[in-house]
């Protein structure tokens, strides 16, 4: 009977493709929007991910994220270094500045000052040049999003001169970094250079990045730092999560994406529900005849279930493939760089599809199950 059920559905091409479209569209909307949402809010932690060596981030107690921070006195660095279990500690500066390009344009940038000696604080990989270019005078390394934003005409950024706080800066490398939440241009330079590029008050140290000694637990050492210095210390994962939480709590992004995901669900229910109901209504005489002939209600349920399973699995696959295709197509766009589909998201879409089909299938089934076999004689 399941074969008959499938043929009943696929034989009605208009409704079959309508159902597939409904499920695929719904899946695409839910999966794609959730994927963008998750990747976007993860950008709130990009500053942490771009400094892979740091196991502990130490900051003023009022600081919350890599961008929402309060500068500390430079003595904080020595205080952290003195804590037992800290293998190394380096200064890290993060500040906003305006840069004047050679064409006279003004661009808002983020200046990141990394440790002069170890260059800890730089992204792991470079796209152009070498990390050691920072040892040359006035050197800065630009991130790849910055290249796109500032040199959209295809000009080679290497060797380009910039003006930062009346100081000369020369781009000598391109870092392969995770873009910031705002896709702002990021310039990496040595800590001592950064102090010149960014005007500021007496306290300039944004963070102290620390590594833990072998055999030590980062969380324990962080707690010890807090206890001994009175500063705030978070492990890499904690601080990354703090950046994500800040985006969730302080922007309308979750609400906006939530609305779109809900719309995807509602559109799915509407299209699939309507089409499924029409399909059942068109075939109600046939279902009635089957019931009269001797097909049990449980077999009818299995038949409609098989139809829903077929539509659901094909439509879901199309929707997820569509999302993957979208991500692939936009992977070259810097703002979408590094976007991936977390495995939980297709699972969420699958649950949504199951709910859509269960709801619409149940509504459609009710009319079949309530059809009296005797109605075929009327």
């Amino acid at each position: 009977m399941l074969w008959i059920a499938i043929r009943m559905l696929t034989g009605d091409a208009q409704k079959f493709y309508g159902l597939l479209f409904g499920i695929a569209f719904s899946t695409l909307l839910i999966t794609q929007q959730l994927t963008i949402f998750v990747n976007l809010i993860e950008r709130g932690a990009s500053g942490v991910f771009n400094a892979p060596e740091a196991e502990i981030w130490v900051m003023d107690p009022v600081s919350r994220t890599t961008d929402v921070k309060y500068e500390m006195p430079s003595t904080a660095l020595d205080e952290v270094r003195s804590v037992r279990g800290v293998e190394w500690a380096v200064p890290h500066l993060r500040a906003a500045a305006s840069v004047r390009t050679s064409t006279g344009d003004l661009e808002g940038v983020a200046i990141i000052g990394v440790d002069d000696a170890t260059l800890i604080g730089l992204p792991r990989n470079m796209l152009e040049g070498d990390k050691n270019v920072l040892s040359r005078p006035d050197s800065v390394i630009i991130d790849d999003v910055g290249v796109t934003n500032m040199f959209a005409d295809g000009t080679d950024p290497i060797g380009q001169r910039l003006e930062l706080n009346d100081q000369r800066a020369v781009i000598r490398g391109v870092a392969d970094s995770i873009p910031a939440f705002t896709s702002q241009v990021v310039l990496y330079t040595k800590y001592t250079n950064a102090l010149n590029y960014v005007p500021g008050s007496r306290n300039r140290l944004s963070f102290v990045l620390a590594g833990v000694s072998e055999g030590q637990d980062a969380a324990t050492v962080a707690a010890r730092i807090e206890e001994q210095t009175g500063l705030k210390a978070e492990t890499r994962d904690e601080f990354a999560q703090a950046g994500i939480d800040f985006i969730i709590q302080n922007t309308g992004i979750p609400t906006n994406f939530g609305i779109t995901v809900a719309l995807g669900f509602i559109v799915g229910v509407a299209i699939v529900g309507l089409t499924f109901s029409l399909f059942i209504r068109d075939n109600i005489k046939q279902f009635g005849a089957l019931k009269a002939i001797g097909v049990t209600n449980s077999k009818i349920v299995r038949m409609v279930g098989a139809q829903a399973l077929l539509v659901g699995s094909v439509g879901y696959a199309l929707g997820v493939l569509g999302t993957a295709g979208f991500m692939y197509a936009f992977s070259a766009v810097p703002q979408f760089k590094g976007f991936y589909i977390p495995w939980q998201i297709p699972l969420v879409s699958l649950v949504a599809v199951v709910l859509i089909l269960a709801l619409t299938g149940w509504l459609a089934l009710r009319s079949v199950l309530n059809t009296e076999p005797a109605s075929v004689f009327r």
């Binding site: 043929r7 009635g288 002939i293 097909v295 009296e372 075929v376 004689f377």
Partner: protein, 238 residues
Amino acid sequence: MVKPTGEAAIHARGITRDFQAGQSTIRVLHGIDTEIRAGEMTFVVGESGSGKTTLISIMCGILWPTDGEVKVFGNDIYSLSDSDLVNFRLQNIGFIFQQYNLIPSIDVAANAAVPLIAQGMPIDKARARAKVLLDKLNIGDQADKLPNQLSGGQQQRVAIARALVHEPRLVVCDEPTAALDASSGRRVMDLLREVAVAPDRACIIVTHDNRIFDLADRILVLEDGRVTHDGTDMPHDH
């Protein structure tokens, strides 16, 4: 002409059926007592609203009577559990509907094989058995077509094949000639007599088509929910 065995295929006693219409209850059948014998082609005739469709629906186990008892080949069908009753219909009863109710998206052979498939027979085997019957009904060459590619008469034959493919002991036909012209109607009835009437099988035909009354072995006339005539011919006043 098949010789009737005289065995009672259906034994109905005191069949009453009420329907609710708003606040009022309408009695459609008034305590009908009758028997349908195997080997006979029995016509149930009457005006619209006389209760003939309700009567055969009850006789073939798809509509519960308000009161009364129906035995089909000795089985008190309304004392069976729901699932047993459904299974009883699947094994013992063949239906020919006025609108045919063929499944439009599966081919003729599969349509004819539906009862066998519902019984659990593999599709290929069921189709093969259906094709044998379709050949007998002279539409074997149409087996791979879809129902909408056939004429009304051919679709009727597919419906007949579907009703007989599982060799039921009771065949119930609802207005089999209603959608056909006179000559096509008689051909269908001749065909039904040839393939559906057997010594151990009863065939009930609900009709108000007076062009085919002469083909009946027995005629039950219903008026206002009561059997007013039971004989081999129509009464003269009809």
